[in-house]
């Protein structure tokens, strides 16, 4: 971390997006994480994605739990409301926030301790309810703030900095998200921003529970030989599933120049298009079962699969399940909410 304050002035020539903001307007306070932390790269990718998507910062609510990852919402989108909740409980607080006002974009930022251990129940149930959100797990396999204990996503046999070997089987949150019915499931790597930014943009424009697992090496406690979440290990074992271009709704889709079969286009609910350039052996992103198989096959080969694994662009979200009115509940007042004295008199009459 640095103690130098960020200058508030922008260079006048900084490029503005369609809603009049520069990239700097999407930044937050200076990070207090360790230099080289993968989480800071993810924050940068979030900033980039929001700026490129022309999202008004105040239309985003960012929520997190507790831990290094959960500190990061302070370091991006300083014009957005943020909520650093308690350990492992971001999903429920985000669910409530989303029910109160469906019109905002909800970013849930969590870590592997937060979501795979103490909060695994909340992760599970928020995903299976289909809460319209981007659920980002900044996954480093280790507890950073408490100095290097294994987390539940640490691979069996991986070594801690102090040399201890993890004997417990890992929780695979991507596999769980697929099984639980997430309508958008992807994995990224904090060291590959080119891949991560389009993934985040696609997740942010997706309606429904979008789950993004981002492998994010911990430079202080989990970046050594023997770790399976180090920069070196992930680079060596990264199996990038596909390259994805995100095409916003307003851009005219030109005739595809790629040979058929290699490119798959997915039109999302908001009109945006995901153009997926597939690798030869990759699976169909519209097939949940195939995605689960593919994930497990790669795992068996010792590969960390990254990219978009599954998307259902038409999945109903929690609001659709609950059939809620298409309005922010926090704007409803007495006329819409209070049935009035006459209705109460009828209720009283029925109770005599």
């Amino acid at each position: 971390m640095t103690y130098l304050p960020k200058p508030k002035l922008h260079h006048p020539s900084l490029q503005k997006n369609r809603v009049g903001f520069t990239r700097r307007d999407y930044e937050g306070a200076i990070s207090t994480l360790c230099a080289g932390c993968g989480h800071d790269s993810i924050s940068a990718a979030i900033i980039q994605a929001c700026w490129e998507l022309d999202i008004e910062p105040h239309r985003v609510a960012k929520l997190s739990g507790i831990g290094c990852s959960s500190k990061t919402p302070t370091y991006f989108l300083g014009q957005s409301h943020g909520f650093n909740t308690v350990h492992g409980r971001m999903p429920s607080v985000l669910t409530g926030a989303n029910l109160a006002n469906r019109e905002l974009l909800y970013l849930g930022v969590s870590g592997d301790g937060d979501s795979a251990s103490i909060g695994i129940g909340q992760f599970v149930h928020a995903i299976r309810r289909g809460v319209d959100m981007v659920y980002i797990v900044e996954n480093n396999g280790v507890y950073g703030l408490t100095k290097g204990q294994f987390s539940a996503t640490a691979d069996q046999g991986s070594k801690s900095k102090k040399g201890a070997v993890n004997t417990d089987a890992p929780v695979d949150m991507v596999g769980m998200a697929l099984q639980l019915g997430a309508s958008f499931v992807a994995r990224g790597f904090s060291g590959d921003k080119q891949q991560l930014v389009p993934i985040l943009k696609a997740a942010m424009t997706h309606t429904g529970a979008a789950f993004v697992d981002v492998i994010s090496p911990c430079v202080a406690f989990n970046n050594h030989p023997g770790s399976t979440k180090s920069y070196d290990y992930v680079r060596e074992h990264n199996h990038a599933l596909c390259r994805m271009d995100f095409i916003p709704p307003r851009v005219e889709i030109t005739v595809d120049s790629h040979p058929p079969g290699e490119v798959r286009e997915v039109r999302q609910h908001d009109g945006s298009m995901l153009r997926l350039r597939k690798l030869p052996d990759s699976h169909d992103t519209g097939d949940r079962v195939a995605a689960m198989n593919y994930l497990h096959e790669c795992q068996a080969r010792g590969e960390i699969v990254t990219g978009l694994l599954y998307v259902d662009p038409e999945a109903p979200d929690l609001h659709a399940h609950l059939d809620t009115a298409p309005v922010a509940f926090n704007r409803l007042a007495e006329p819409e909410l209070c049935p009035g004295a006459a209705a109460l008199a009828r209720i009283n009459a029925g109770l005599r």
């Binding site: 409301h81 209070c338 109460l344």
Partner: protein
């Protein structure tokens, strides 16, 4: 032993088997008496079970209008062989034992000092219906018919109530009326009149008959709650279910059919309170309903909501604790716990409804207070109020009433340059201003956290910032005292140095006990606490009396502890009167304990149950 003779003043106890369909027949019995203008107060006494275990329904008939549990019973409807012995043993001497005599029972199974009334319910049912379930269900209606003749309940009243129950379902109406008349016919031809009678009066007035959980749910609808998150737990589940039912009728957009409410049955109480906290943070009115074990799980987030200052409304329908405790029995044993729920220095606002009327009122008030004070507010109901039908004043709603959304800055205010610092005490009442997410493009955003912060919501580990914030929270709590429902005082007819403080479901028994004590020359002024932190008038009441009895339904005298803590009064002046066996407190108990403490010579007479 002379048979008991009483008009409109006795207790009937139904002993049934859980799942036998007796509940609706028993409720019908209670309602018939109400329709004849005579107040009744029924109570379910039930096990933690769906089918097979014993269940009881006690109906106190009281022309005088006493709605507390009396204790004892004068007429036993013994429909459960499993509990026969203990049920019969508990019947008052001179009482009446009504039973199904289809099968002969040994003489040793009866008592000499009670009147025995046998009706061959099973035989008649078997002769009349082929279907086993029908035989079972109509047996209940048959005993209702026989009882109506014995007690003088008008047939027309029952038939009308059955008609209301099965409105539009003619196929169900006729066999029920037939079963009723079978029971009535047998009683008219075969049974002797008994000493207990219902006579028509006009003592019910415009009061309504409803359970506290339904009332609180309706209060949440009227109070503008749009988000409800809950986890099933006795005795609060029916509150969330009633909210669902009322919302489906009252909160659907008439044009689109879309819902202006969202109800989530969460995975546990931690998620319930998390959802409510998230919704409150984002400007929707939200609540959860739970019981003690749920509050235990919610503690961490309750502390977050207190420290981050987020409106949260919690209905605690209290049951017996600790741990799983007595899930189907009543207590007021979460009071001290809720007052300081969560770690660190926390203090919470509590409201104590006395009956369904106040459950409705306080539910809506709690939503206002939570918004005004930006803090968790607890409505401290209990099983006795929540799960039993109680006669109470009709619900009221003033059309001019507006929701108090508290200090929320709008986009217009922010645009006009109103300065904003989330935790600044601008008005000196300890309550800061807040903004909802998404309000203004460049102004009013802040970061909410449970860790320490300065007045502008920036992260701070500075001790001075922390202390300033904690002191402001104390000031806010002081502000709450004048905003809460104020205590209700009942002065004794003669000036006295003795007082009593009570709250919640103790109310009807307390009212009865006081009248009884007055009649015995023991005069006690009484104050019903309706909110915590306590109003100044509670202190004045304590100061005005030498001895104050604090009547409550828990072991540890929890309200008394809070009184001592807040007012730093001499504990010796606050005398605990504690009832905590899981049954609702009775006037007999209160009068006896207070009488004993005050050295009343005539204690024996009170003990015998002839008082109150």
């Amino acid at each position: 032993m002379k048979p008991i003779e009483a008009v409109n003043d006795f207790v009937v106890k139904f002993a049934n088997v859980n799942g036998s369909g007796s509940a609706s027949a028993n409720e019908l019995f209670a309602k018939c008496i109400l329709r004849m203008g005579v107040p009744v107060s029924p109570r379910n006494i039930f096990p933690s079970n769906i089918q097979g275990l014993p269940t009881w329904y006690e109906v106190r008939v009281s022309e005088a209008g006493w709605l507390g549990r009396r204790g004892g019973y004068d007429l036993l409807v013994a429909m459960n062989p499993q509990t026969w012995d203990e049920d019969v043993a508990g019947l008052a001497p001179g009482g009446y034992l009504f039973y199904d005599n289809s099968k002969p029972l040994a003489k040793s199974k009866f008592r000499d000092d009670v009147s025995v009334i046998g009706v061959p319910l099973t035989d008649i049912a078997n002769q009349t219906w082929d279907d086993a379930r029908q035989r079972q269900l109509f047996k209940n209606i048959m005993y209702l018919g026989a009882l109506s003749v014995l007690l003088g309940i008008e047939r027309d009243v029952i038939v009308q109530l059955i008609g209301e129950q099965y409105k539009g379902k003619q196929a169900l109406l006729e066999p029920n009326v037939h079963a009723l008349d079978l029971g009535r016919g047998y009683a008219e031809q075969q049974l002797q009149p008994i000493g207990l009678k219902i006579e028509r009066r006009d003592n019910v007035g415009d009061r309504i008959f409803v359970d506290g959980n339904s009332a609180a749910a309706l209060g949440m609808v009227y109070g503008g709650a749009t988000v409800c998150a809950w986890y099933p737990i006795t005795p609060s589940s029916s509150l969330a279910e009633a909210f669902q039912k009322y919302c489906a009728k009252l909160r659907v957009d008439p044009e689109t059919g879309k819902h202006r409410y969202a109800i989530v049955q969460a995975e546990d109480e931690i998620a319930s309170i998390g959802i409510v906290t998230g919704a409150g943070w984002n400007g929707a009115r939200a609540f959860t309903a739970t019981s003690g074990p749920g509050i235990s799980l919610m503690n961490e987030i309750i502390g977050l909501a207190y420290f981050a200052e987020i409106p949260v409304t919690i209905v605690d329908v209290q049951r017996g604790g600790p741990s799983t405790g007595m899930p189907t029995r009543t207590q007021q044993s979460d009071v001290a716990f809720c007052a300081h729920a969560s770690h660190g220095d926390t203090s919470h606002v509590l409201l104590f409804p006395e009956d369904p009327h106040e459950c409705f009122e306080f539910a809506a008030t709690a939503l206002d207070l939570a918004d005004r004070l930006q803090t968790p507010v607890f409505v401290m109901s209990d099983l006795d109020i929540g799960m039993n039908h109680r006669l109470c004043k009709p619900f009221e709603w003033d059309e001019s009433r507006r929701y108090d959304r508290g200090k929320v800055l709008t986009a217009e205010q922010l645009e006009a340059g109103v300065p904003f610092g989330r935790y600044r005490d601008v008005d000196g009442d300890g309550i800061p201003y807040r903004t909802w997410p998404g309000t203004h493009p460049t102004r009013g955003s802040f970061f909410t956290r449970g860790t320490s912060k300065n007045a502008d919501a920036r992260y701070s580990e500075n001790g001075e910032d922390y202390i300033e914030n904690m002191r402001r929270l104390q000031r806010k709590f002081e502000t709450a005292r004048s905003l809460l429902p104020q205590p209700v005082v009942h002065e004794a007819p003669h000036s006295t140095r003795h007082g009593a403080i009570y709250f919640g479901s103790t109310s009807p028994s307390m009212a009865e006990a006081i009248v009884k004590l007055d009649a015995d020359g023991v005069h006690v002024d009484a104050l019903r606490v309706r909110g915590y932190p306590f109003a100044d008038s509670v202190r004045e009441f304590i100061d005005a009396h030498d001895t104050v009895f604090v009547v409550e339904q828990n072991r540890d005298a929890q309200l008394r502890s809070l009184l001592i803590e807040q007012f730093e009064v001499d504990p010796a002046r606050l005398v605990p009167v504690l009832h905590y066996d899981g049954t609702p407190i009775t006037a007999r108990f209160i009068a006896r304990v207070i009488g004993e403490r005050m050295g009343v010579a005539d204690v024996t007479r009170m003990r015998s149950g002839k008082v109150a």
